[in-house]
Symmetry: C2
Subunit: 227 residues, 2 copies
């Protein structure tokens, strides 16, 4: 698989995180399909995003989740956590042998602020992996702020942490991270590391509220091969 | 309480993290007492550290854990997690009304690498808070690499994330973070945020192994008041 030009399907692609990632992927020349349970919503989101794209961007289309999964090279799962436990198993026939990237953050909110939910499978990424036998699952893109993602003319400046038990999924996701963040993703370890990466998003949301910003994570003292 | 010159007791101060923090605190002029279950070990660590201190540094002494807690303005708990469940309750008589900073990381290691342990209380910091009624508990310094801490002539360059439910503990710890990191700590939210901060250390250890480095965390897009 070359990552020069991929067909990327974003399940739950009409949410803020899905649209933000779609914008960066398309701006880098990839062909992106936004999926939704409601095809009309997916089409509307694709039209809206396409209008923001610079010259030379890849095509952005929209359709029902099931319709976009079949022809994809890479599947990104960007559904809210409420949806995920019930909505992932249907992906299994399309996902075997493919790279599937979870950017799902199981978060709760109460009067003390945001917090990471306890997940039976350990993490959303492991939950997804358990439902998709044969898929090459990685977790990534948990911490990149959606409002920054859609501004594709501005460098993101944050690191993307990637967790996976599969070498292909790790390599492809780290390369895709470069098209999002301007630098390759950082290998953060085994897929179960998503137990820590996912709820760390709650910390960033708390910081965002306190400092009125869109924060992100940079890892210091890591030298990445230039892309 | 002024943080200009504090008496800081570091419980479990002979470990790498405790010694590293002690070095930074003393280099900034604070008086530091290293504690250990074994007073001889604490004294030896204090002598060793004192030899590394620049001119003008605060005094570093060593004694048994119980002996250092009484006279301290701030108590730092830097024990290994194995110790914490049994060793913290004795601190209660000394800790009421004082700022107590947990930098405890409950971590496990197996063939797939480091991982965060599941903690009944939610996090080590919450476990400590539950055993110390009246203490002003914060969690901080989880992510700063010990080998970098002891090199007090080199700027750390990493952020310190601080979680607390108490405004005094938050303010004092953020100021102390400035003496460690060269910039004030970042308010990361409620004390329970330590559920996410503590195991994030497993991710950094995994990154350190993969990239042969001592990584740390910087939070992007947060403007801190200059110290």
């Amino acid at each position: 698989m070359t990552t020069n030009h991929l067909r990327i399907a974003i399940i739950g692609g009409t949410g803020a995180q899905g649209k933000g990632l779609a914008a960066r992927f398309a701006a880098a020349g990839h062909t992106v399909a936004l999926g939704s349970r409601d095809a009309e919503r997916a089409i509307a989101a694709a039209v809206e995003l396409s209008d923001l794209m610079p010259a030379g961007a890849g095509e952005i289309s929209g359709a029902a989740n099931e319709a976009i999964a079949d022809g994809a090279d890479v599947i990104v799962v960007a559904t809210p956590w409420d949806d995920s436990p019930t909505s992932v198993a249907w992906l299994a026939p399309y996902a075997a042998g493919k790279v599937v990237i979870s950017c799902v953050n199981p978060l709760g909110f109460d009067k003390r602020g945001p917090y990471g939910l306890v997940v039976d499978a350990g993490s959303a990424a492991e939950h997804i992996a358990a439902q998709l036998p044969g898929a090459l699952v990685a977790g990534a893109f948990h911490h990149v702020a959606a409002p920054k993602l859609v501004k594709v003319d501005q460098a993101l400046g944050d690191d993307v942490l990637v967790a996976s038990d599969d070498a292909t999924a790790m390599a492809v996701t780290c390369e895709l991270a470069a098209t999002v963040a301007g630098r390759p993703g950082i290998n953060a370890g085994a897929l179960r590391m998503c137990r820590h990466l996912e709820p760390m998003t709650a910390t960033l949301i708390s910081i965002n509220k306190t400092y009125k910003t869109h924060s992100g994570i940079n890892i210091s003292n890591v030298e990445l091969a230039s892309d």
